[in-house]
Structure formats: C-alpha cells, structure tokens
Symmetry: C2
Subunit: 563 residues, 2 copies
C-alpha cells in the first residue's frame, strides 16, 4: 500500500502539491479536503468574472484545455480523491489523523495520514465597522461572493458601489466595476493607494491616473460606519463625508488561516503565518505548509515575510509535492513581486520600496524614470515610469516599481530576476536585454533607470524629487526653476505658474548661461528627466554649483502637483 497523503485546502497550493505528488508516486493514496464547494479554481480571476471579462464562473475552474477541474476530473485523470464541503476540524498529531466534518451531513470522521499538507489559505479581514453585517456589504475571496456581486450588478441592484481599501484587490475590483459601468467610489484610511507596494511618489501618480478615469478616490479617510435601510447598506460614513451607495466591497486585506495549525500546536512565525523551513516543513516533520497560510523569506532583506499570492502558492505546491514523496526540494524564498491592472493602467512592484529600504537602515538612492515602451519613432508606444531603489554605498539593487499604461510586466520581471541574484545597479545597467523598435529602446527602460542611479551614486547626477519641488514652490525660498523643454511641449503638457520659473529651451541653454544666476539653486526640469540631467551637467560644468535636476520631470511633477 502506498503512503497516505492528506492535503487540507483545495484552491492553489493544495491541488498543485497533490498533483505533483501523484506524478512522482503512483502508489500514494492522496486526499484533498476542501471546505468550499469548488476545487482548484483561479481565485485571482474573480475580479475579471465580476467585470464580465470572464463570462462564466466555470471558466475559472477549467484547465487550459477546457476540462472542468471537478471531483471526477481529479479522480479519473489524477487518481486523487477530493472531499469538498468538508471541513478539517482538528489535527491529532499523536495519532496522525485529521478529524474532518462533512458540511452537508455534519458527520465527523477521521483521515489517517503519513504526511499532511496544510494549504488552508487566507481569509479576508473583516474590520469592526458598525454596519458590517448589513445586506450588500461584501468581502471578495470565494467564487460564491463574486457570483452574488455580479448578479446584483446585472440585476441593476448595485449601480453605485463603494470599495473600502485601495490595495491590490480594491483596484482590480475598481476596473471590474468600471467595465460594468458601475459608479465607483474608493475609500482608504492610508494617505496613498497600494500602500506597501508603492512609494508615495509613484502612488500619487497612480492616484492621479485613476482620478483621470473618473474614479472618486478618497485617501486618508477613515470609515466610521455603514448606514442601512431595510437591512441593506445605503451609505458609507467616513470622518469627512457620507457616500450614498447600493453596495460595499470591503477589501482591506487578508489574514492567514492558521487556526487549525495553531490548535494542533504547530509553530506560527513572527508574521502570524505558519512557520516553515526551506523545505516548507512545519515544526512537525510530517506536516508541510504552503500557499497563503505559510510565511516565507525575503531574498532581498533575508527577513521572514508573508506575501499571499497565487504564483507563490503554486511554486510552494511543487516543492511540497516533491518533499512528501521522498524528494529533497528547497523553496529559496521570494523577492516580493506583485502586479495588477486597473483601468488601463499596469502597476507593480518587486523587492522593497524606498520607504522600506530606509526602515531597514539602507542609505537608499532612487530614481523616477519615465520611458516609452517602444522606440519613440515606432507608433503606438505607451508610457511607463520606472522607479528603482538601491543602496548607495554598495550599489546593490533593492527594489523596483513600474507603473503606466505601457508594458510594465516585462520591466518588473527583469528587475525581479536581477534581485533574485543579488544584482547591483552596474549589472542591471549592463544587461543584454531585448531590443527591436516594436518592443523598446536601444537602452532598455530598466537599464536607463539603472544608469541614472549609477550617475547618482557616482556624483554625476544631483537631483530633487517631485514632492521636494512641490514643497519648495509652496515656500518663499530663492531659487530658479529652469524648464529646458521645447516650446511645443510647454503648450502640450503645461508649465509651472510661479515667479521663480523660467523657460530656456535646451538648444539655447549654453548661449543663455551668462544670464543665469550663479548664486542660487537652479532646479532644472524637462519632460522626463533626461534633458534636465544633461542640462544640469552642462550648468555644473560651467560653474553653476547649485544646479540640480528634477527626478521624473514634468511627467511626474505635474501629475503629483495637480490633484
């Protein structure tokens, strides 16, 4: 008889671990226990189902070749037994059994295991807001919830929706609602969108782009309560306003589902998720944990982190599938890569933010580099803005953030790959990446950004950030803002209204130098930061010792200043 493998949790990591175990061990007796009615579905696809981009809920449960991954499929194709609507209520580690209860019959029974896999996932945080219990207040984690939300929208019962939380899920849902022509409001207690994923500068750009798409976005506002009528929510009450609404989607984050593990005396980590070693083994050598219920290590900081993502869950599953069948696979950790699309905007992050880098004690340098995602002479290019963060002393790359309507994932994956191998900014600047006009520029966007950081590290590029410029303009200091763009760009993209602002086109700069003030800071700005860097170099070369350029140029500054 083969060994008994029990997997608790049937969404991502669990089924992957089970399938991998089966491919390695034809004899094993493998059982998946799942509380819900569905198994092996694409949870990340739920916003796209709400938005109608994915037509049928069943689409999220099909394989890429069209078969529905149901109990019969697992039985016939994979020889894996799946028990849905079955809750694991207790692990008896001494007896090596899991006590399970059928949610249909309420009957309990025991499943013996040789090796147990915990893939219990995560659950949405339900904040203690008065009115959470009202009708039409939803969280979004399971297919059933997505189904109810979509039906309400299609029935015309949710023409106005308020999303609480401007994080990843919140922004994905905002796009979905926009697709369904739902009037959408977002509220977040944090002063920015995508906290933790983006620094404040890039987050402000994303917020501006969302507002341009007509999303009412209220940041730094606390939701005090939901008001209802006839048992249904009709209003969101914040510390600053009341928002009339037909429904509320609460997307303020998730927490790992660890009750079962904790009750069984399995160790939790400092993140609150289940602690595992590099083989994804818990404190009990016969019990493994992976996916959203387990913590992992950051390859950037070396610290334990908890980042619940379907991609990590799948990689966890493969490693566990190996190790429960006598293999010796390690999970090396993650760099922390996340990406999303929202209202035509692609946004993502990998490694750590500048803010986090400072918290970790780094003397961090960063840049904001707007680029096109094709050669500028090739039609159809779209903008992306690349932010890189590195340690000034060592030149080690610490993280990257990319946002814009253009091809963001390509650049994030390059940065993530570089982070995986502990690359420095010199490595990144020298990388031999793809170049052809339909795909990018001869100096790839991330290499360009890395070059800016190299210039900063080497003292060739002295800059100030867009927020810093905004603050300076709000004060009454003595300096000059020198705009070196072409006349046409001023008209097209706008300029800064301030007495200290002056325009001298790049071609006239050298000739105009005698008229520029040598005794005060000259803050050079252009559209994307390239010409202003060059101009600042030329000014320094001519003796203007307080010349600096504005990181990210007008592309970033005007968006940040105008909201």
């Amino acid at each position: 008889m083969g060994k008994k493998i029990v997997v608790i949790g049937g969404v991502a990591c669990g089924p992957k671990a089970a399938a991998r175990a089966r491919r390695r061990d034809a004899e094993a007796r493998i059982t998946i226990v799942e509380r819900g009615p569905f198994v092996s579905y694409a949870g990340c696809g739920l916003p796209y189902y709400i938005g109608g981009v994915v037509e049928e809920l069943e689409g999220l449960m099909r394989t890429s070749f069209g078969t529905v991954r149901d109990l019969l499929y697992f039985d016939k194709v994979k020889d894996i037994r799946v028990l849905t609507r079955t809750e694991a209520v207790k692990i008896d580690r001494a007896k090596k059994v899991v006590v399970v209860k059928s949610l249909e019959s309420s009957q309990e029974s025991e499943l013996a295991y040789d090796q147990l896999v915990l893939a219990t996932g995560a659950a949405p945080v339900r904040p203690p807001i008065p009115g959470m219990e009202l009708g039409n207040v939803f969280t979004l984690r399971r297919p059933q919830e997505a189904e109810v939300i979509r039906k309400k929208i299609e029935a015309g019962e949710a023409d106005r929706v308020c999303i609480i939380g401007a994080g990843r899920i919140g922004l994905e849902v905002a796009e979905a609602l926009s697709n369904q022509a739902v009037e959408t409001t977002m509220v977040d207690v944090a002063p920015q969108v995508l906290t933790g994923l983006l620094d404040a500068d890039l987050a402000a750009m994303v917020a501006k782009m969302l507002r341009d798409e007509k999303v009412a976005l209220y940041l730094g506002e606390c939701v005090n309560s939901f008001a209802g009528a006839d048992g249904k929510v009709i209003k969101v009450v914040t510390d600053k306003r009341e928002i009339e609404t037909d429904a509320v989607i609460v997307a303020v984050g998730v927490r790992p589902e660890v009750a079962l593990a904790k009750d069984a005396g399995i160790e939790l980590g400092c993140t609150g998720a289940i602690s595992v070693d590099d083989h994804l083994r818990t404190s009990d050598p016969d019990i493994f944990a992976g996916g959203d219920c387990a913590e992992t290590s950051s390859l950037v900081t070396g610290r334990k982190i908890w980042v619940p993502l379907g991609s990590t869950a799948n990689r966890h599953g493969r490693v566990i599938g190996d190790n429960v069948t006598g293999g010796d696979s390690k999970f090396p950790g993650i760099v922390g890569t996340g990406v999303l699309r929202t209202l035509g905007l692609n946004v993502g992050s990998t490694g750590i933010t500048e803010e986090k880098a400072r918290e970790c004690g780094h003397d961090a340098i960063s840049c904001l580099a707007p680029s096109g995602d094709k050669s500028h002479f090739y039609p159809g290019g779209k903008q992306i803005i690349v932010k890189l963060v590195a340690d000034k002393k060592t030149g080690k790359l610490l993280g990257g953030q990319v946002a814009g309507p253009g091809d963001v994932v390509r650049r994030l994956d390059t940065i993530a790959s570089a982070l995986t191998f502990g690359a420095g900014i010199d490595d990144l600047g020298n990388m031999d990446l793809c170049y052809a006009p339909p795909f990018g520029t001869a100096i790839e966007a991330v290499a360009h950004a890395a070059n800016i950081l190299r210039n900063k590290r080497d003292g060739l590029a002295e800059s100030l950030g867009p927020f810093e410029l905004k603050d300076l303009l709000a004060g009454d200091g003595d300096f000059m803002v020198l705009d070196v763009r072409g006349q046409g760009e001023l008209t097209a993209a706008g300029k800064i209204e301030d007495r200290r602002y002056r325009h001298v086109g790049m071609e006239d700069l050298r000739a105009s130098m005698p008229e520029l003030p040598g005794n005060k800071p000259i803050l050079v700005i252009c559209q994307a930061g390239q010409r202003s860097y060059e101009a600042a170099r030329a000014l320094r070369g001519a003796g203007f010792r307080e010349a600096r350029f504005v990181d990210g140029g007008m592309s970033v500054f005007l968006r940040i200043a105008r909201q």
Copy 2:
C-alpha cells in the same frame, strides 16, 4: 585646454560615447567624424521606414522629444563638433592624428587626438553573385538605401521583391514589404530561417507561420545569379527555380568595418572584429573601439564573439565615454540576445542554441513549451513557444528561444537576466515573477519551461522531439502514438493519419490501460505537452516502461509535419 577626443563613426556607439564623455568632462574638445550625411540615427528603424510604419526618414533622426539630431543640435546642445560626409582615411598612431578627407571637396586634413574612439560599424556583405551590379539590387544598411527602396515601392516600380537571406534583417524587411502589399519571396541557402538564432525545430515553426502569412519561402536554395534587362534585375535564378522580380534586397549579413584599424596595426580578434579588453581598449592604449566594429565576450561560453546590435553599441558607448574621460568602466560581455518582429510573429533568442551547446561539448537537454501569454481564462491571450537549453549534468541554463504571436520579449528578458547571473534551471523555476491574469499564468511560461527541464534532468520526464516523431512515423517501426487530447481538440487542431495512432482522452486513460500494449513504445501526445507528460507519468507508474511524451505536442508537431 581640455583633452582632444576624436570619435570615428556617428551612428550609435560613437555619438553615445561622445555625449557621455561631454557629460563627464565639460572641458574636453570632442569631434565626431562620419562618412555619411546623417548622424545619430536609428539604423534598426530602417525596415519600419520601408514599411511605412515610420512615415518620415527624419523620424529616425529625432530625439524622443522631437529634436532632430543634426550638426547644429550636437553643437548647441552637447558642445560636440560633428563632421559629416567626412571619411577617416588613416590613423597615424605615432603622431596621434587621424587623417580625414571631406567627401565634398576631397580635401584632406589632420585631426589630433589624445584619445581616439573607433565606432566604424559594419557593412553589408555583398556576395559574389553574378548580377549584383544590376539596378534594383539593394543592400540595406544606410538611410539612403531605405529611401530609394521605399520610393521604388511607392512609385509602383517594385511590386514584387525577392529577399536574399532569411535572417533577422530579411525577416524584418519581409514584414515591411507585406505592410506595403508587395509580393514577397525569400531565398536562403541555409535549410532554415534565422540560422544561429534558432534551432531547427523552432525555426521550422517560424517558417510554417511565415508561409501561413503567404510569404514564398525557399530554404536550402542557392542563388546562382540575378538576370537583368535594360540594366535592371528581372529574375533571381536559384539552383531550383527562377523567380521573376522587380527588385532584390540582399540581406545575407554584415561584416565589421575594420580596414582603418587594421591599416593602423590595431589588433583584430579571432572573430575578425577589433579586439578589445574589458575596458573596450584596443591594442593601442589610447584607442578604444565599440559598437559593430568591435568584438565582445559571451557571458555564457566565455568565448570571444561578434554580435553587431544597436543595443550593445549603446552600452559600449557609455563605457567608452567613461574611460576616455578618466573613468574606470568595464563592459562585462553579453549573453547574446536578439529579437525581431515579422508578420505578426515575435521571435528571439538569448544565450546559445541547443546545436551550439552540443558543439561546445555540453550534454544538452531542452524542451519545447507552448504557453499562453495570459491566463487561459482571460480573453485575448496569444500563444508563445518557449525553448530552453541547459546542461544536463550541472543544470546550468545555456540559452532560450521564444517565438509566437504573443508576448515574447518579456520571456526572453527573463531568460537573458537569468543567463547573466549564471542561473541554473532550478533558479529559473523558482523565480518570483509577475503574475496577474491579464499578463500570464500563475506559473510563468519560462518557469513552466524550466520545470519541464528539471523533470527531464531528474528522470521524471522522458520525451522525444517533433522531428524524431516525424522520422519514426516515416519508418515502419512498431510503436503506438497515443493522443490524449479531448475530442473537440482533434476536430479543431487536426490529428495524425497513421495506423499506429490511437486516441484515448485523458479522462479515460487510467480506465483504458488494460487495453494498451505493454511491450512496445507508447509515444503520448497532447496539444502542448502538459497532459502527455502527465499521461506518460501515469503509464510509467502502471508499468508501461516505454512510455514517453512528445515535446511541444501537436502545437509544434503538426506545424513541423505539414510543410
């Protein structure tokens, strides 16, 4: 007085080196010498100008903010003197002068240098084919040539064009001609397209996709002559046919322009290009070389290679700009990344091919992994096929090739990044890459391909290639081809007509095992290779010791078999 820096060559590396030098040294006297009439243009954009995608030739000479990079621009903005229509005829290393000749006046003069930069580029190979001198026989390297070709097309004087050479430029030109509704024929003496960039299997797929786009593609054919009338080409005569045509574009490769360096006694490398050290210094310590005239090192093989590309030229330029101004910058080498778009197909390669890996003595393993470029449930996804090559013993990644209508560059850049850091297939399989349904699958396409290689290395996945299956089917051996796809896929994608072919859907496989032959090879095939791998595992587990799966599945096999 500042140091005198002379740069010979004004296209990519030269202007970049000059601009970088200026930013680092305000005092230097910098001169660029360029034979042609244009400076700092995007040579890689010429096919797109021919195709009308780029409307004006001037578009290839503008900066991203619209200024034309002409002599005045270099003078006023960068304080760099540019001499166009000026040929460097001799380097006198003892006197440290370059003798230059004006192509307008034929007058010669001397330019003194402290540091000299050779960025002389490459020239198209003109094969000794009788008739090369005929009218309407073109090579394509310089803007002037592109202009003549486009004018002929627009004047209706080139409705039929024959391209000699199915390499990168040939394929880009094929797309351009297709955009202009020109009837296009391609001839290459090699038995495949993109020799050196792709292995035969992926090249056969690309050839099939091109033929599906109505390109007449004759491979393995030798051009014997061009026949003419009234001084103009009217026919291409190969060893197999005569092709009537209005014009010929010869794109059989380029060779480095090294005559000037060679005459001056500067060392050439084994590749025929100028030999440089890791600071891009030639055998003369005051002379640097970069771009298409210089060789570089492969980070994969450690060997000297010559790969002329605009992206490398720009990186070279930055390093040289540093080193001619007292800096200490190294160019680490390249992994060898190339990409192109042709007729809606994206194709590229990085590192070395499987064929090259074998030549270098590796026990190479490879895979062909078809994937979607979005989650399968997300609409609009397009196919890509990822081929990875690794060393079986060490697991070290050696190269990757990706082709298809989908997002190819993202995957190539990930592989290129991994190659840069000497990654193994385990590293690649574990990388924390972007995942969200609009961008890819939870297990990213390259990680999926790396996992297949890990399975092959570990003895879990025994496969055969599409050519091997084709050969077996052409013989009369005893085996079974077992197709495990769904019934609908057979109808949609086609099947194999052979007495040894049998269809058993994946869901029925385990139940059908008693009927399968235990005494002969079972070659399992599905659409993309995933199910057939799983089926082969199940068959092996049940005692069918000769079960293998077909790499790349029907996606690859049917395309290769049907042309």
